[in-house]
């Protein structure tokens, strides 16, 4: 494992005064002008004056660590991510300098260096692409649209599918509403519990054995509401007759399984 601290590798004696390079001075003077540690790394790597693909990551790491060291020596305020990067680079440096452990699970120093090089190269490429874009003849600066466009208009022409029937139907409904001011509540056609009691009491005499509850429903159940009231009333009637001890009820197999009933055996 990496031993932290000064002098581990013998090359970075942090207590020794290292004369800052002109670039370091520039970086430190304009620290606010940089967009984070990667930006500083890119500036440092450009200073190596080689193609980014041939850059020495080890040298870059050393330059960066010197930059952070110098910033701290001058009591410059450095954001936390600059220190995180310094830590990462210090670790990378040690990995690059130490022999590779054969059973190492973590990426090798070379892998890490390649990853950093890739990131720098990619960002550099994007930066140059941005500059190339901005140098293109741009609309409103070097290229112009028509100054007095007549304009195109897309009009939607509504087509209504209202028919004469709808119209006179609406008028009929309007007239009806207008002339009818008295509210009349009409009798709702429902099957009552009394009806159900009477029917069940009558039919149960004929049924000696267990019968399904729905066998006691009245005939002609087509209308939804009427059918619903009949089922409810028949069920209530069955409960009432059971309470009175006139019939017995059973439901085998849990909820929604058929309910059966028969005449109570005294």
């Amino acid at each position: 494992m990496v031993e932290p601290g000064a002098g581990t590798t013998g090359t970075d004696d942090w207590d020794a005064e290292i004369a800052p390079t002109p670039l370091l001075d520039v970086l430190l003077l304009d620290i606010d002008g940089f967009e984070g540690p990667i930006d500083v790394l890119l500036a440092l790597s450009r200073d190596q004056k080689v193609d980014l693909r041939q850059i020495s990551i080890l040298q870059l790491a050393e330059q960066y660590l010197r930059f952070v060291h110098e910033a701290r020596r001058r009591n410059l305020e450095l954001a936390a991510d600059y220190l995180v990067m310094a830590a990462w680079l210090a670790y990378l440096k040690s990995r690059l300098l130490l022999p590779v452990a054969p059973d190492a699970e973590e990426p090798s120093g070379a892998d890490m260096a390649a990853a950093l090089a890739f990131q720098l190269e990619r960002l550099d490429a994007m930066r140059k692409a941005g500059e190339a874009l901005m140098k293109r003849p741009r609309l409103g600066e070097q290229v112009f649209p028509r100054g007095a466009p007549e304009g195109l208009r897309d009009l939607t022409r509504p087509i209504y599918d209202t028919r004469l029937f709808d119209l006179i139907g609406a008028y009929g409904a309007f007239l009806g509403r207008k002339t009818e001011t008295r509210l009349e509540i009409r009798e709702a056609k429902l099957y009552s519990v009394d009806d159900a009691l009477a029917r069940m009491s009558y039919l149960i005499g004929a049924a000696a054995d267990w019968q399904k509850l729905e066998a006691f429903l009245p005939p002609g159940l087509t209308d939804g509401l009427y059918r619903r009231s009949a089922v409810g009333a028949t069920f209530v009637a069955a409960l009432e007759l059971t309470r009175q001890g006139k019939i017995q009820l059973r439901q085998d197999g849990g909820a929604f399984s058929p309910i059966r009933l028969r005449k109570a055996i005294p």
Partner: protein, 216 residues
């Protein structure tokens, strides 16, 4: 990148026309000849160049026109209609709009206040607009009463759309009644709605009805 494409200098007619063309195209206002001269001092024969450019566009979709002492590109007048695109769109009128349309048709000329009074509700701002846009109603002049309110009636497109010969072809109250369209009973909307959703009851399809009744 734009720097390295060099425009040939000198009294090159072609270049002069290109520059005039671009300036007139990009300007928001017609450009005065004086202004063109000031901007393009290297172009000596401006009149000839403008005339040559004008000729170039004769009969095209765009024309170079002179307005007073200024020049501009304009789309050819005969193509004006092609700049606008009408997209037919099927739409549904609201119930309120249909009812207002009916009231206007049966009671024209009718004022907005009268419509509101008949319906018992205020007229939405958009309702009459929709009917106006459809071309079905039109203003019929002001009523000679205090406030001189505008009256409304049906427009020709209304008869067209509904296939009516004239307004008196609309069925009258008695005909509406006869056709069952004048229904004075309150609608049992609640009950009707309730009975629509079929219930899931544990009724097996082998349900046997007891007694003497006829089946389902």
């Amino acid at each position: 990148m734009s720097e390295d494409t060099v425009v040939p200098e000198g009294p090159d007619h072609f270049t002069a026309e290109r520059v005039i063309e671009a300036v007139l195209f990009a300007s928001a206002e017609p450009v005065k000849e004086a202004s063109l001269r000031a901007r393009l001092p290297e172009i000596a024969d401006l009149d000839a160049r403008l005339e040559s450019l004008r000729q170039r566009y004769v009969g095209r979709g765009v024309e170079l026109v002179k307005r007073g002492d200024a020049w501009a590109f304009r789309t050819a007048p005969d193509l004006a209609a092609r700049l606008h695109l009408e997209v037919p769109q099927q739409r549904k009128l609201s119930r309120a709009a249909v009812e207002v349309m009916a009231i206007v048709a049966y009671h024209q000329p009718v004022t907005r206040a009268e419509i509101e009074e008949m319906r018992g509700v205020a007229l939405n701002r958009g309702t009459l607009d929709v009917l106006l846009e459809a071309g079905w109603v039109r203003p019929m002049g002001r009523r000679q009463t205090p406030g001189r309110p505008m009256t409304w009636g049906t427009a020709p497109a209304f008869l067209d759309h509904f296939g009516l010969e004239n307004i008196s072809a609309l069925p009258g109250v008695e005909e509406l009644k006869a056709a069952g369209l004048l229904d004075t009973r309150p609608a049992m909307i609640a009950y009707a709605a309730q009975s629509e959703d079929e219930m899931q009851l544990p009724l097996g399809d082998d349900t046997v009805l007891l007694g003497d009744e006829d089946g389902e």
